[in-house]
């Protein structure tokens, strides 16, 4: 089996931060906040968060905040719940939540909860279980989960459960590993996992592993490294991780590396990007690959960071 080219990946991530003048990176401008989260969390898992100038990053993050309390993906863009979570997560990585007016951020999120318990992404009203996870995860990190109607939020998520045991983005949406991660994560954080039929869901999830050892996100699809996170963390949260072949998955992820230039791609021999680099490393961490910090499957942040939030105040 190959090895994790940790140093190369660190170099790759640091180079992406600087490379801002190509068409490909310009069209990703709007989600730079997500990119920062993926890049910096990966660095932290590899023990190299100190390679980055924290103050610079934090300064930039705060410029992305709106008076409504929400964060945008980049300076001058509109706020959205997606970028709000990433912003909070990065601040937590640096242990700098104190720069925030927590009430302000919390209010932005609570205002996005709808009558039926669901969450909109922003004031324009698109609903998705991803946003439910984001709201719950974010407010939990900020330690004010009680500001939303948790019961209704949980009931809405449960209404998105399908007969195959999986979850979609809205009621009656197709089961998708990414949506399942969000729903299971939200249920885990709110202590509501007893509502999940773990055998039924575990069954659906373990069927995501294909012959090559990689995981796909839905039936009949090709394996993709990002599902190493979403399927794997879901299985861990419902205590069924032994239902897939862990060794084969490790091999698959390692095969997706570009060992010369750094970075990880969706499947072997494709082009790399920060998104898949993060999910590959995070997946390896869940699989207890040596040399990596442990990552929390529900919060998607290093365990020591999460412990810092809940145990040292």
């Amino acid at each position: 089996m190959g090895e994790l080219a940790a140093d190369k990946h660190v170099e790759y991530i640091l180079s992406v931060e600087k490379r801002k003048d190509s068409f490909e990176s310009v069209v990703m401008d709007h989600l730079r906040m997500n990119g920062v989260y993926w890049g910096l969390t990966t660095l932290d898992l590899l023990g190299k968060l100190n390679a980055v100038n924290a103050d610079e990053v934090i300064l930039w993050i705060m410029k992305c905040q709106h008076e409504s309390g929400g964060f945008a993906g980049n300076i001058g863009h509109d706020p959205h719940i997606l970028y709000t979570l990433s912003a909070v997560q990065v601040l937590v990585l640096f242990n700098k939540l104190d720069v925030l007016d927590i009430d302000n951020v919390a209010t932005y999120i609570t205002r996005l909860q709808n009558e039926d318990g669901s969450f909109s992404g922003d004031k324009w009203g698109e609903v998705d279980t991803r946003f439910s996870y984001i709201a719950i995860c974010c407010l939990s990190i900020l330690r004010c989960l009680d500001k939303i109607n948790v019961e209704k939020a949980v009931n809405y998520i449960l209404s998105c459960k399908n007969l195959d045991g999986g979850f979609g983005c809205t009621p009656s949406g197709e089961s998708h590993a990414g949506q399942i991660f969000c729903c299971v994560g939200a249920l885990a954080i709110t202590g509501s996992l007893h509502h999940v039929d773990k055998d039924l869901l575990g069954w659906w999830l373990c069927e995501r592993q294909v012959k090559s050892g990689g995981l796909n996100g839905r039936p009949e699809k090709l394996p993709d490294v990002c599902y190493s996170w979403w399927v794997l963390s879901s299985l861990i949260m419902i205590d069924r991780v032994h239902w897939i072949d862990n060794e084969k998955l490790v091999k698959f992820i390692l095969d997706c590396q570009d060992v010369e230039n750094g970075g990880i791609s969706d499947r072997p021999d494709d082009a790399v990007d920060v998104f898949h680099t993060y999910f590959g490393v995070a997946g390896l961490s869940l699989l207890k690959y040596p040399g990596l910090k442990a990552i929390d499957p529900a919060y998607a942040l290093p365990v020591d960071v999460i412990n810092g939030i809940f145990f040292s105040r």
Binding site: D21, S22, F23, V26, V27, D29, H30, L31, A72, G73, G76, H77, D78, H80, D122, W124, G125, E126, L163, D164, G168, C169, T170, S172, G173, E174, S175, H176, D199, L200, W203, C206, E207, Q209, R218, P219, E220, K221, W243, D245
Partner: protein, 421 residues
Amino acid sequence: MDLLNQLEAILESDPLIDEVGFIHPSQFVILSKECGESGDSSEDGAFGPRNTKFWNRDHKLGISTEVLLPLCKAAKSAFMDAMKQYKTLSSLLDNKHEDENITNGSLSCQSFASEVMKHSRALLLLSCDFGTAWNSRKLVVSKKQQLSIFMDELLLSALVLSYSPKSEQAWSHRRWVIKMIAGKYSTLQEIIAKESELVEKIAERSKMNYRAWNHRCWLVSYMTREQMLHELKKSRDWAGLHVADNSCFHYCRRLMLGISEISCCKQEGDNSSYDVENYQVVKEELDLSEVLIKRYVGREALWLHRRFLTLLTIRHLTTKHGISCHFEQKTSMDNEINIFLDNESCLLDYCSTIQDTEFEDFKAQAMHSAIYFLWLITQIPQFREIELQVKLKAGNLKTILQNTCPERFFLSDFSDLNGSF
């Protein structure tokens, strides 16, 4: 800035553009040659054969990959400026109640609004997930509230989806438009039907496109029972031609659930006739499922769909007989369930014979059939109780699993719940 003006001029002059592509500069030469040197058409004008940055003919637009970066930057910059000015003026006007300058103010506002629309359109063609640009259009459009303007938004997002069929923002924008239209204009049913067709068209080129099919599932809540039945028939046919497309099968499942839900809610009329019709629908799906499974060997999506159909069937059988204490009723129900399981047993026997090992498909078929049957007897309570059937099958199932997918063998441990095997 000049590049941006050129692009925006083309978009203005040709509102019927239905296809956009980013083309390598060398291909412009080929394109020019193909359409000949007849550059006398005044529409093509400066964008005819000599132009190596833009190409516009027959309502198609080509943009040279060379100019994408500067064009994108210019569009973004122009858009952000226009947006800032529009928002500032717009909120100033909102705050003023009476002012003699309000007419001039609102005229300026109108002109900033058009700038926002013009620049956002150019920007979104280049960077289709630029959420702030879509939002600005929602802001402008929601102040105008005219059907034709809403329809224009559907045109723009359809154009974007033609080359970026997975664009989350584009699909989300369509839903916003439809929600704005719903209840205000009588054309809703027509629009829903057209949306459904659009998804089908896009799904043809973009297989298992989660966002596209999710959009179609979303439309179902606006459909009447007749529409749902019609959609189911169409989708069933489409699925038969795309047997690996799990998303289409999910859409069929969504429709079936919608049909049975809507029937339950109807107060007037004969509920039992709806039940009969709904069960007929499930039976037809089951029959078709068996045909496809036997024809397209080893297709996962087909077997997963069958799990759902079986669940629905059992649901129907148990509710038909009701929560009844009558011995005859329960025996009758048990009989029907037994017969059903018998049939699935036959299907398992048929499919688990590995005819040859030249291709993987027969092996896959055996594996899928074994896991399907195992799933039935462990996940469906009514089957768990049928010990005799299960006993007879158990040994056989374990063998098939061992031969076809030893990594899934552990799933057969479920059947040891009773400890009888």
